[in-house]
Every structure is written in structure tokens, then in C-alpha cells.
């Protein structure tokens, strides 16, 4: 029993009111600060361990030394060039991608859950990942996007995601107002249509090897990580999304309660939903084109974050982002070491862990809010 519970119990027993913190806001702020500090520490630790552990083990102090040397220009240590290459060129970009993708998925999931007022909404609800899949399949099977050079796959996937977003937006806006139901239905429509397109591309190519590559990509993987435009885009877009969503936190709180309530508190729900839709669609498009459809992170992490610090979005968004990032770094670590040298698609892992976890959360949701 923590301090707050003891105090609460005492107050319940004595029948006194919480005159010092009637709203419970101070308590939640303290909790949030604690969680953020713990999660930042966990993120740093995960970054270092995620780089250290792998087919070749690199001692953490060497990891720190190499990162310090490359990032801050500290002195070179007693490590080989090969070790430096593994740390800097292979593992660091991969861990950074995991951190950003995990954070981005958690943020987009949380935003969408508020936008459509459904706790089971996830980032793939909008069908944007299906667009990315079609683009990726076209690139893998038919060499689409060859003009984009070494990032043809990500580039083509992003174009697919962009097309899906435009399609989604035009369908959702077709009735004039972007309501939560219309958003849901548009997402499902776009998702199914483009899923069919991807399946058709696989069927039409007639290549078993190609089909396997597409499948691997569909299940999600961080194996494409490397220094370059895709990684930079993912990091920047995720950071931007995190900042904007956190700043819009209170408006999202209001939107999550209902459209009528939004009106009465001076916020236009349609306008806000449209702004969030554009932001979230862009972010998801960038994420899935770099890493495929990694499931369950965007669904489960928002629930975890709300349980930790409550439903106030200005607090829950940063916490969810950090949780998602840490979770995905560790999931990727397991994905690439468990059956080494074989790599398990990370989406399989997140689903295996996420599904039972979600069940527990749903059972608790109503019994112990």
C-alpha cells in the first residue's frame, strides 16, 4: 500500500474531506513526475543494453564510450573498429528506430482511442498500414520506387501510406463532418480495400521468395534500420507528434468525453478531430513505412500509461511514448536473439505478449477503474 492509499484510507475512515487536494491533481502530478523519471532512466538503460546485447556481446561501458566518442567527441577507448561499426552503424540506428517506432505507435494509439472514443482503437484502425503494405509489396515484388535508390522499399511504402491517408481523409470528410463513427468506417473501408490490393500483388507476382519477403515485412521488423533519411524522418516526425499531442492534451481530454461536451466547453470537435487525423495519419505513415505493421504496442501501451498516471492526456502522452519506446527496444532485442541467427518478426512477439496482457486489462477496466 503506498502513501496515498494510506492517506486515502485514513480519510475514508475519519470521514474528513481532502481539503488540501480535493481534485487529486497534486497527487497525479507527483505520480507523473515519478513515472517520467523512472521511464527516462529505463530508456537510457534500454538503449545501452539494446546495443550491448546481440550476436556479438559488447560490454555496456564500451557502448557508452563509443556513443560518447561519436556523439560528444570524447576520447577514443580501447575498442576495435569492428566493435565501433557494430555499435554505431548497426545496433544504434536499430535501437533508435525501435525507440521512435514504439513511442510513435503508443502516441498514435492513444490519440485515436480518444478521437473515436473507443478503448480498442489502435494505429492500424485507419487502414494506413494497409497502404504502406501495398507500397512495400509493389517495391519488393515489382521493383516499384527503384528511383528512390537504397530506400526504395521505405519510400514506396510511404507513398502507399500517403495515398491511403488521402483516401481516408476524403472518405471521412465526404459527409461534411468528421464524426467518430465515420472515421471508424472510413478506416475499415480503406484498410480492407488496400489489403485486397496487397494480396492481389502477391498473387500476381507468382514469386514464392517475394511473397515471403512481403510477409516478413507485413509482420513488422526493425531490420531495415540504418543511418539515413528514413530513420531521421521517423525520429523527427515522432518527436513532432509527441510535442503537438502533449500540447493539445486538454483539448484531447475534452474530445474524449464527447462531442456535445466539447461544444459546451468551447472546442469544435470536428475541427480538432481533423487536425489530429492529419497529424496521426502522417505519423503512422512514416512509422509503418520504416518498420511494417508492428501490432499491439499502439493498443496496449495507452492503457498501461493511463493506469500509471491517469487520463489527463498532457501527462499520459509523454508517459505512453516512453513506455512504448522501452517496450519495443526490448521486444526487438528478444526478436533478434531468441532464435539467433534467425530473426523472428517483431510483430509476432508483440502480439504474443500483447494479447493476453490486453485480456487482463479489459477484465480490470470495469472492475477496478
Amino acid at each position: 500500500m503506498d502513501t496515498y492509499q494510506v492517506v486515502d484510507q485514513h480519510r475514508a475512515d475519519t470521514g474528513t474531506t481532502h481539503t488540501d487536494d480535493v481534485l487529486g491533481v497534486k497527487r497525479q502530478r507527483r505520480r507523473t513526475v515519478t513515472w517520467i523519471i523512472a521511464l527516462v532512466a529505463a530508456t537510457v538503460l534500454s538503449l545501452i543494453l539494446g546495443i550491448a546485447i546481440g550476436a556479438v556481446y559488447v560490454p555496456p561501458e564500451q557502448v557508452v564510450g563509443i556513443l560518447g566518442h561519436r556523439l560528444l567527441g570524447t576520447a577514443e577507448g580501447a575498442w576495435t573498429e569492428a566493435t565501433e561499426a557494430i555499435v554505431w552503424d548497426v545496433r544504434f540506428p536499430r535501437v533508435l528506430l525501435g525507440l521512435s517506432v514504439g513511442a510513435g505507435l503508443a502516441l498514435c494509439g492513444m490519440a485515436l482511442q480518444a478521437m473515436v472514443r473507443n478503448m480498442l482503437a489502435d494505429p492500424y484502425l485507419l487502414g494506413i498500414n494497409s497502404g504502406a503494405s501495398s507500397g512495400a509489396a509493389a517495391a519488393i515484388l515489382f521493383g516499384a520506387g527503384a528511383g528512390l535508390g537504397e530506400h526504395a522499399l521505405q519510400g514506396s511504402a510511404f507513398l502507399g501510406a500517403l495515398a491511403a491517408s488521402v483516401l481516408l481523409y476524403s472518405i471521412a470528410r465526404s459527409g461534411g463532418r468528421v464524426t467518430s463513427v465515420r472515421l471508424l468506417l472510413s478506416g475499415v473501408t480503406v484498410g480492407y480495400a488496400l489489403y485486397a490490393l496487397t494480396s492481389f500483388l502477391i498473387f500476381a507476382s507468382g514469386s514464392a521468395e517475394g511473397a515471403r519477403s512481403v510477409m516478413f515485412w507485413l509482420l513488422g521488423s526493425l531490420s531495415l534500420a540504418g543511418w539515413g533519411t528514413p530513420l531521421l524522418t521517423v525520429v523527427l516526425v515522432t518527436a513532432f507528434t509527441a510535442a503537438v499531442l502533449t500540447l493539445f492534451g486538454r483539448s484531447v481530454d475534452v474530445l474524449a468525453i464527447g462531442d456535445e461536451t466539447s461544444h459546451t466547453l468551447g472546442i469544435s470537435p470536428e475541427k480538432l478531430r481533423t487536425i489530429l487525423l492529419i497529424l496521426v495519419a502522417l505519423c503512422i505513415g512514416v512509422l509503418v513505412s520504416a518498420s511494417g505493421s508492428i501490432g499491439f504496442v499502439g493498443l496496449v501501451v495507452p492503457h498501461l500509461a493511463r493506469r500509471a498516471v491517469g487520463s489527463t492526456h498532457s501527462r499520459a502522452f509523454p508517459v505512453a511514448a516512453l513506455m512504448g519506446g522501452v517496450l519495443l527496444i526490448w521486444a526487438d532485442l528478444v526478436a533478434r536473439t531468441l532464435l539467433a541467427p534467425q530473426e523472428i518478426p517483431i510483430g509476432i512477439l508483440t502480439a504474443m505478449v500483447g494479447a493476453p496482457f490486453l485480456l487482463v486489462l479489459i477484465r480490470r477496466l470495469h472492475s477496478n477503474p
Binding site: 486515502d8 480519510r11 474531506t17 481532502h18 487536494d21 480535493v22 481534485l23 487529486g24 491533481v25 497527487r27 497525479q28 472514443r117 473507443n118 478503448m119 500540447l247 493539445f248 486538454r250 483539448s251 481530454d253 475534452v254 474524449a256 468525453i257 464527447g258 456535445e260 461536451t261 461544444h263 459546451t264 466547453l265 468551447g266 472546442i267 469544435s268 493511463r306 491517469g310 487520463s311 489527463t312 498532457s314 477496466l365 477503474p369
Partner: protein
């Protein structure tokens, strides 16, 4: 004072509010009554600015509603509405603090003064001890109090309530309306129950097919012949010491054939 002047609104070709004019009186409770589909809720939405009237105009303290921004409207009018699908994990304290939204810049944090105002609002409706609880874990009556507290935290000069007694036990119905009356705020309340309307409202407006069927004090409006025409039910008036009480029967009750006030015989 909120005034509506010749307001009309139609969904498609179906007129829901048809040429309605009304005005609230400072510090008094105006009740909006009428059968299902008579346009009560639509009228409330027109007055609160969440729907735009197709003809006519709404003024808040002589300012036309359409010249005010949504935030400005939200600072003048506190509206309590029913959200059917409240699948939220928000706490009571957070819910009441949201009432301060119209006063805060979009990106600004809540200030100490906002916390004080929200705390006072929660104390005023008598549920300060529930501040830490999840909103969805409350009973219907407690939820309604919290929503009224949020409306108070909004500090509007006018309170608009859409069926605040819906789904509440009889005791809570009276508690909520007693609470609203005691606030001394200019209030417009949509009510289903005519006896509650008689007991807690200073004035009533009865709607029928989107038009005003009658307006005046409860004593003037709640006439058995009018009730029969608008609601299709026979009403008997019982004058108690301090107020009017109605009882209802589907058929005209032969045991109550004695001439009644207002009933044409």
C-alpha cells in the same frame, strides 16, 4: 439573459423548432417541457450555439450569439448535457477542472486559481470527497452533481441543463433540482416530469411539435385541457398548500368528475 427570437430549425424538411421565442429572467429557473420529439433538446442546442438556427437569432445579454467565438460562448453559458457513451477513465477532479477550458489558452496549463475554482465548485455540490474517484464509478446522482460542478467551474452566468433528472432515483431527482434552484443562477432546464417542473421552476414553456403551446407560471401552463391536447393524457390538478400537484390517468376518471379549475365542463 438569453433571448431567442423566432428560432426555427429543421432536420431535412422536418421542422423540429418552429418560430419559437423565449427569454430567461435573471436568477430564475425556466423550465422547458413537452412530449418526446417536441424539440426541447434541439431548442437547447440552438440556445447554446451547438446548432445554428436556420431563421431567427439568439442573444446572450444583448450580444448576438453568432458574433461570439465558441470559447466566449462557453464562458457565458454553462451547459450540462448527457453523453451516452462515456467510456472514459477520467477522475472526478479532472472532469471538474475541464470546466476551466474556456478560460485557458489551448496550450496553457491549469493555474492554481483554476484548481481553487474547481475545488469550490465540487464542494458547492457536496461531492468534494469524490474528487479522486473515477467518474464512471459514480452513481447516476453523483455523476450529475459532478457535471453540475463542472458547469459551475465554467462560471457562466447562465446554466442550461438537458434532462438532469434522467435515469435518477426519485430522491436524487429532487436533490439535483433542489441544488440547481439553490444556486441562484439564471437557469434553463429541460424536464420530462411535469410535477418536478411545477415544483422547481418559476416559469414554464411547453412545446408542441416545435412550437410554443403555452408559456407562463406553472399554474398558468399546467392546465388539464392543454396537457390533454399536448400529451394525450388526462390530468387532475391537486392544489397543495405550497404548490401544484398533478396526477394522470389514460381515460377520463369518472371518480374525478367534480369540476376542476381550468377544465372545461
Amino acid at each position: 439573459m438569453i433571448t431567442g427570437n423566432q428560432l426555427s430549425y429543421a432536420y431535412g424538411t422536418q421542422a423540429v423548432v418552429d418560430n419559437v421565442s423565449l427569454a430567461t429572467s435573471p436568477g430564475r429557473v425556466l423550465g422547458l417541457i413537452g412530449p418526446n420529439g417536441s424539440g426541447k433538446t434541439t431548442l437547447l442546442r440552438l440556445l447554446s450555439g451547438s446548432l445554428k438556427p436556420q431563421t431567427g437569432a439568439v442573444h446572450i445579454d444583448d450580444e448576438p450569439l453568432e458574433t461570439l467565438s465558441p470559447r466566449e460562448i462557453a464562458r457565458q453559458l454553462s451547459v450540462v448535457v448527457q453523453e451516452s457513451d462515456a467510456e472514459t477513465t477520467i477522475t472526478v477532479g479532472e472532469m471538474v477542472l475541464l470546466g476551466r477550458t474556456p478560460y485557458l489558452k489551448p496550450f496553457a496549463r491549469t493555474r492554481l486559481s483554476d484548481h481553487r475554482i474547481a475545488t469550490e465548485a465540487l464542494q458547492r455540490v457536496g461531492v468534494a470527497h469524490l474528487g479522486h474517484r473515477a467518474f464512471t464509478s459514480l452513481s447516476g446522482g453523483e455523476r450529475q452533481r459532478v457535471l453540475i460542478a463542472r458547469a459551475l467551474a465554467q462560471q457562466g452566468h447562465h446554466l442550461l441543463l438537458d434532462e438532469p433528472t434522467n435515469h435518477l432515483d426519485i430522491r436524487y431527482q429532487h436533490e439535483i433540482l433542489n441544488l440547481v434552484r439553490g444556486l441562484g443562477v439564471t437557469t434553463l432546464v429541460v424536464l420530462h416530469d411535469l410535477n418536478l417542473a411545477a415544483q422547481y421552476c418559476d416559469e414554464l414553456i411547453m412545446l408542441e411539435y416545435g412550437r410554443v403551446a403555452a408559456t407562463g407560471t406553472p399554474d398558468q401552463v399546467l392546465q388539464p385541457d392543454l396537457i390533454h391536447r399536448v400529451y394525450g393524457i388526462h390530468a387532475q390538478r391537486h392544489q397543495l398548500a405550497d404548490r401544484l400537484q398533478l396526477s394522470f390517468t389514460l381515460q377520463a376518471d369518472p371518480a374525478l368528475t367534480a369540476p376542476q379549475k381550468g377544465l372545461p365542463t
